[in-house]
Homo-oligomer: 181 residues x 2
Amino acid sequence: MIPISYLRFNGGLMITVLRLGHRHVRDHRISTHCGLVARAFGADEIIFSGERDDKLMESIDKVARNFGGDFKTRYERNWRRIITEFTGVKVHLTMYGLPLESELEGIKNKIKSVPRDMLVIIGGQKVPGEVYQLADYNIAIGNQPHSEVAALAVFLNVLQPVPDFSGGKKIIPQKRGKKLV
Amino acid sequence: MIPISYLRFNGGLMITVLRLGHRHVRDHRISTHCGLVARAFGADEIIFSGERDDKLMESIDKVARNFGGDFKTRYERNWRRIITEFTGVKVHLTMYGLPLESELEGIKNKIKSVPRDMLVIIGGQKVPGEVYQLADYNIAIGNQPHSEVAALAVFLNVLQPVPDFSGGKKIIPQKRGKKLV
């Protein structure tokens, strides 16, 4: 089986995360975590919809500048356009969806067949019903309520894209304590 | 290899999550997500330290009542006591730690040898240096800054304890749309 990382290495797969329904103040930290998780687990960019929040994007951009790589953040009011105009595989993460375990091979095959880019859609408190129709896959990381941050992390961790953190500060793993160079 | 779920089934393994340094308002939603992730990915309880926040615990308890199982939340001001008096395996999740991939077998073996309960410690913005000393393992889910919510989810997902959601509402996985019974 061709690993996803092979496709990425060959310029085949680009992962965009779309975060729906961001709200000022209330969602600031959760949305920040969504952005940092997207970057740390190998996505290429995150698009925020809902309320525009430049501070949110700046705080993620700052981490990206410090820790390297080429991760992008941007705002787009019209989430519907982002989804409908996206030509790759669209995966919506929701606790109401089908189990990741049963759908993963299908998703991987769909990516490989062309190969095509991937859009990973995460909510917001209230995800419009239309999103469930526009997505190619509605995928549950367990059918229990938990967190879009967690769902995104587990999904990307299973997909294993190869992240690029070149040019940034490096953490040197330690048994105890902290080392940053 | 004996799966963790076997130990759990035999009353061998109980997982407690300790969330350090909770702050009112600012951390409310991140801490809620930590609690929901702990429950959804099979931990038995979460202990919050930092500022006491009854609303936080009530919101997690409410989900636990609705969706089943026996997940517990509690507050403990003295986090040091929790860690020092804990007799099982203590794992601190931190981006400065050693990679999960290289340490996982060691952790699993340590659990199996007795078998003993597990304490999973997650930060807070500023984790006291002492925590790195008191933990048996300082483990990184990637050495990039991201999220304690994500780190907890990926760690528990790899450990695969068997969750108990008996007696609650059930989500029936759907290709499109929502079904809750």
